[in-house]
Amino acid sequence: MNTEHDLAILTQFLRRMAPEIEGHDAGDPPAELAARLDAFASGKAAPAERAALAATLKEHPEWLSYLARAIRTRAA
């Protein structure tokens, strides 16, 4: 099993069959959540907070793009 390769295949398939899995970018989340995601993106979230935010993003993939942008901004 080649993890990266297999996951890429499944991702491409689901992008065509279920585009909602990417989550529509809803812009900026509410201020309180944005602050938590910013802290997460900067590597400052404790394990329990990471788990809590991961659960939130599983239910609300529309905020995934915000987190990704925050990570990229800090990595640049």
């Binding site: 996951l7 890429a8 499944l10 065509r16 069959m17 990471r50 788990a51 990570i71």
Partner: protein, 238 residues
């Protein structure tokens, strides 16, 4: 499935297979001989492995051939994946259609018998063909796999799923994910992805086994249907 030299997100053009398909469409005798020697056994082998009896496999092979030529599926092949993956995935799709139409699991040989016994020559298979003409279901395999994968994604550990989404959908680099996860080692991130994939695999196959117990699809079959053979059930990706 043999890994392709191209990445999964950038399917390569399979020139030789595309030419082979064109030769078949042109009625080239050598191409036909090669089809009989290579692709027919590949189709039958796939069907037998997925739970078909010999009689079922013969029946489904006939339906696949009909779709390839009369249904113009072969003419729609663009070479975005290997031809063998295309026809094998088509065969799995037709096998699933066949199973759903024969939900009572009547062997194909019995259907032939019932056909012969039916009055006025309108047998079960004839009636099924008529039903298909009225209500075509083009990609039941694609729909089944989508449902199975979405079910599996819902079961995946939230952190593993988030890492997978950030990596594959948002193209966040592994080293940046390490920084986000408190400066963890890259192996930790890799393990999370591996966990996610294993969970998706197990949950997907469990879902398929429950929903379609006779369709004995393997993980490799599924990857082929979602990847190299996807054109057969999703159409061209351009």
């Amino acid at each position: 499935m043999t890994p392709s030299s191209a990445t999964a997100s950038e399917p390569s053009f399979h020139h030789a297979d595309f030419e082979f398909a064109q030769d078949l469409l042109d009625g080239d005798a050598q191409a036909w001989a090669r089809f009989d020697a290579e692709l027919k056994p590949a189709i039958v082998s796939r069907l037998l492995r997925q739970g078909a009896t010999e009689a079922d496999a013969d029946e489904v092979l006939g339906l696949v051939m009909e779709k390839l030529w009369a249904g113009k599926k072969l003419a729609a092949y663009t070479g975005s994946g290997p031809l063998q993956g295309f026809v094998r995935t088509m065969a799995s799709n037709v096998w699933l259609e066949y199973l759903r139409k024969h939900r009572r699991m009547i062997p194909a040989s019995s259907l032939h018998q019932a056909d012969e016994e039916a009055e006025g020559g309108t047998g079960i298979l004839d009636r099924l063909t008529e039903a298909e003409a009225v209500a075509p279901q083009e990609t039941p395999l694609a729909e089944l796999l989508r449902d199975a994968l979405l079910h599996a994604l819902a079961q995946v550990d939230a952190e593993a799923l988030l890492i997978m989404r950030l990596s594959l959908l948002q193209d966040i680099k592994q080293r940046d994910l390490c920084a986000v996860w408190g400066g963890c080692h890259e192996g930790t991130i890799s393990r999370k992805k591996q966990e996610a994939l294993e969970s998706i695999r197990d949950q997907t196959l469990a879902y398929l086994a429950e929903r379609e117990p006779t369709l004995q699809i393997t993980w490799q079959d599924l990857l082929e249907a979602c990847g190299d053979g996807a054109e057969a059930i999703l159409g061209p990706s351009y």
